[in-house]
């Protein structure tokens, strides 16, 4: 998968869009529970979560602070472990994988977009995007081609030699998106991707994510507080005190 270049993915994405969207879910959660221990007390965060997200979906997860949104996202992206239940992503039951296998799986299957961009400050935009590719076994030239292509997609090719501190918040988030898509992952997970941006930059980021979903058929799972951000999603689910509410489908704006 890592060997596909992003241009190819766009073509495949468009081809896939011609098919009916009713296919096997790319993300499937069955009876997932998660709790934390605090001061000797067990606090349930997620209770019996059942969720299916089809491939190519733009899925938004909303809810008040402390409702367990980020925890659910972390479980889907294998950044945290569930207490019980099954989580399948791209057909792989990630609850059965070892730490080492999970690391390998994350490297090839998940792209991450965080609220605070989480770029490595000592690396340039290009080097940040190249970072996940170092684990793929690609040659230096191939890595360069992929990273440049990803930066071109987010329209930051001109600023590839800039360090994060030399970029605006919106630009940093675009670099983070380029880093997220450079390995052509199965899913993109975004935790409050516009939470630290002004309106204009937030709109640009959401449009970029929307474009990736529509044109490249990328499955995006986004946690957000922001109703304007959620408007871009086709499916919105709300999480309240660890319980997942009913499906709300919409036409994205």
């Amino acid at each position: 998968m890592g060997k596909l270049i992003i241009g190819d993915c766009l073509v495949i994405g468009i081809w896939l869009l011609e098919f009916d969207n009713d296919m096997a879910p790319i993300v499937e959660l069955i009876e997932v529970n998660k709790s934390y221990q605090k001061g000797g007390q067990i606090i349930p965060v997620l209770v019996n979560i059942n969720l299916e997200i089809p491939e190519g979906e733009f899925f938004a997860l909303m809810g008040p602070s402390g409702s367990g949104k980020s925890t659910l996202l972390n479980l889907i992206a294998a950044l945290d472990h569930a207490d019980s239940g099954t989580i399948r992503v791209g057909g792989v039951d990630i609850t059965t994988l070892s730490e080492s296998e999970l690391a390998e799986w994350r490297a090839g299957s998940v792209g991450f977009i965080f609220q605070f961009y989480n770029l490595i400050p000592v690396l340039t935009a290009f080097e940040n995007v190249e970072l996940p590719l170092l684990l793929t076994g690609l040659s230096r030239r191939e890595r360069r081609d992929h990273a440049e292509m990803a930066l071109r997609i987010v329209n930051l090719e001109e600023r590839m030699d800039h360090y994060p501190a030399q970029l605006s918040g919106g630009e940093q988030q675009r670099v983070a998106i380029a880093r997220a898509i450079v390995t052509d992952p199965v899913i993109l997970v975004a935790d409050e991707p516009t939470g630290d941006l002004d309106k204009v930059a937030a709109r640009e980021i959401l449009e970029l994510m929307d474009r990736l979903n529509r044109e490249s058929h990328k499955t995006i799972i986004m946690v957000t507080h922001d109703p304007r951000a959620a408007e871009k999603a086709r499916v919105i689910r709300r999480l309240e005190k660890g319980f997942l509410n009913d499906v709300h489908s919409q036409d994205p704006h």
Binding site: T71, N74, L79, A103, E127, P132
Partner: protein
């Protein structure tokens, strides 16, 4: 290459902190190198000693002399190739602060027994021909600006009076471990003068230096010599030249041990300094390590980054310390030349510097490395923002 780039950039992220840490390591390595050189200097006489030479002295103490008549008896012992002898003269040149070792020796046998003191043929001939002649080491001659033909007067402390000598040669050491700060003159000159001024002290020898036929016979020959003079009025103690030198060092063993201990304490202190730097680095970068893990990097990648950074910083400090050791040791050698004629930074000290730095870098990085390796991604990401 990429990892090296990250290590270098991370290493200088907090320039002041990194530079201060490097400075600390530099000073520690410099101190460690100098202290080890100091210890080596103490043992330099031992290093230069030959396995085929024995030293015979009075068994009570080196202060007590031996009769000159022992010479012939020693010469007849099986395994003895050559016998030389000498006395510590203890003369002072102008002022007491101008201390240097000066000996009365039997020139012919001494030069044969100690080929490591190199004189030209002309100088040797001139030295042997003139009863009042002396030869000095290159460093000693340079120190006082003596030239061949100069007259030098020493004030005797053990043998009172002003003693005049004429310089007939400047010897060089065969290699760098040979002391070039000594002063030798004819034992006959001393002995004949004593016959006139203090006859009871004449025909007495401070120690015999004995060349043996084979080094493996050293113990046997030493035993035979001591056996020969058993129950005489001046019993002997014969030992290898190395053991003889070590017996001098053993007098100051406590000081040497203390210096040795201090050299290791310096390393322990620097471990604490680097460990502190690495712990601060770890705490600041927990979030970043979590990001690396998010991207698929494993625990050992993170461990490698921390350990690599620790090694990078420590090795820069080590290199600077090693480079600085040479000029500082040279200055120290000049200052301490009266007491330590050989004060040289040996290759083995540089190896010890590198080994100590590696140990420092590893020990300092152990705790942060283990913590970072085991950090849970979700916990690490919570630290950001």
């Amino acid at each position: 290459m990429f990892i090296l780039k990250i290590l270098i950039r991370n290493g200088f992220r907090h320039k002041l902190r990194t530079l201060l840490t490097i400075l600390g390591i530099t000073v520690a390595i410099l101190a460690f190198g100098l202290l080890r050189t100091f210890i080596n200097a103490w043992y330099s006489g031992v290093e230069a000693s030959s396995a085929s030479r024995l030293v015979t002295r009075n068994s009570i103490s080196l202060i007590f002399t031996l009769p000159f008549s022992y010479k012939e008896k020693i010469r007849q012992i099986d395994g003895v190739r050559i016998v030389s002898w000498g006395n510590w003269f203890g003369g002072i040149y102008i002022d007491e602060k101008n201390f240097f070792a000066n000996f009365a020796v039997d020139a012919n046998s001494y030069l044969e027994l100690y080929p490591e003191y190199i004189l030209s043929r002309e100088e040797t001939r001139a030295f042997l021909r003139d009863r009042k002649a002396f030869v000095a080491g290159r460093k000693l001659a340079k120190r006082f600006g003596w030239k061949t033909g100069d007259t030098v007067t020493l004030r005797g402390t053990i043998f009172p009076g002003n003693w005049e000598f004429v310089m007939r040669g400047i010897y060089r050491g065969r290699d760098e471990t040979i002391d070039e700060t000594q002063f030798f003159f004819h034992w006959d000159y001393l002995n004949e003068s004593l016959k006139k001024t203090a006859p009871s002290r004449a025909d007495q020898v401070g120690w015999y230096m004995i060349g043996i036929t084979r080094p493996d016979r050293a113990t046997e020959v030493a035993l035979a010599i001591d056996q020969t003079f058993k129950n005489s009025f001046a019993e002997t103690l014969t030992e290898t030249e190395k053991a003889f030198q070590l017996s001098f060092i053993s007098m100051s063993e406590t000081i040497i041990k203390a210096i040795e201990l201090v050299s290791f304490v310096v390393i322990i202190i620097i471990i604490a300094v680097v460990a502190n730097t690495m712990s601060m680095t770890y705490r600041e970068r927990i979030g970043e390590y979590a990001i690396f893990k998010t991207l698929g990097y494993r625990g050992w990648h993170i461990a490698g980054m921390i350990l690599g950074e620790s090694m990078f910083i420590t090795m820069i400090g080590c290199l600077s310390g090693m480079i600085l050791t040479f000029p500082v040791a040279k200055i120290a050698a000049g200052i301490l030349s009266n007491y330590f004629p050989i004060f040289k930074v040996e290759k083995e000290i540089l190896y010890m510097d590198i080994a100590a730095s590696l140990v420092v870098s590893i020990l300092a990085a152990i705790v942060p490395t283990l913590r970072a390796r085991n950090i849970r991604i979700a916990d690490g990401l919570r630290r950001i923002g």
